[in-house]
Symmetry: C2
Subunit: 152 residues, 2 copies
DNA sequence: TTAACATGTAATTCAAGTAGTTACAAGTCG
DNA sequence: CGACTTGTAACTACTTGAATTACATGTTAA
């Protein structure tokens, strides 16, 4: 199965907080941008808060960025929204037959290999900051706007 | 959610085919080693067959390796058992608000980033062959056996 | 040819995770 | 006080994974 869209929604939220920082970003407003419901936004925002990425307090409208954009990588978001802390990316079948040489060694043989692969993934995510994403969004928006203008 | 255990089971099957190549590896036998049921083994074996990794034919007992162990990487197995062909590893929320700069650019901004991360993962998996896994299993088994002997 | 056995596959069930939705308690502020 | 917001819990619908059962199809040997 795919990695939860909580990850991309988390990135969406952080990007939105930057690009819309002049206004108050309530869960209701952000839900409209993501196109989901406010409760889910609040849930994910809560996860981002736990990770120290956003400031948000009960009763006070709006969330704000808690750190500089260049200090937040996608890996931070990945860890914030994924419950991968207790669950590995790769699932390994449990209870293989201990009477079989393969069965009794497959798990311990695969774990370090899977770890290396997972770390490669995380390294790639850690190399991209939210600032990079925001810049990309701005660039893409400029390009599509200029295309639209020239078409008129 | 985690990547399906079909992946680790697929590796288990291929390793077993090598280490038990003197015997006939029926789905029933392999199911006992993996500790699951024969139908699931046949399903995964069928996927491995589609990928050209094993030979198996209706009515004829047992599966065999279709290629050399050093010519099979974990990435081959990953692609064989994962239906990732039509589904990306990272899920991106659909239908974000096109009226919002973030909403209308988030998907196209994230896709290439996620692709890079996914490729990093696949590169790591492609660097490990089934031969490596089999050697590791043999090594681990030797070590645990010698420990047992010395304990007597 | 037939009986025994193996693979291929469909259907069913159960469990778990995702995401959408509603509802409401708790907190804040004019 | 009253309007608004966040934090959560509960519920539903949906999807996927995995286990299980059943049976059609194919093969082999007696």
């Amino acid at each position: 199965m795919s990695i939860s869209t909580r990850f991309s929604v988390g990135i969406h939220i952080l990007s939105l907080l930057e690009l819309n920082k002049e206004s108050v970003n309530t869960s209701d407003y952000m839900a409209k941008s993501v196109n989901t419901n406010p409760a889910l936004i609040r849930k994910i925002t809560g996860m981002l808060k736990m990770a120290g990425l956003v400031n948000v307090r009960p009763g006070i409208a709006g969330a704000t960025l808690a750190k500089g954009l260049s200090d937040m990588t996608l890996l931070d978001v990945y860890h914030a929204v994924n419950v991968t802390s207790d669950k590995e990316l790769f699932g390994i079948h449990e209870n293989p037959n201990p009477a079989c040489p393969v069965g009794r060694n497959i798990q311990s043989s695969l774990e370090p290999i899977f770890s290396v692969a997972e770390l490669a993934l995380e390294k790639a995510l850690g190399a991209v900051t939210i600032e990079d994403v925001v810049k990309e969004i701005i660039e893409k928006d400029k390009r599509s706007n200029s295309r639209k203008d020239s078409a008129i």
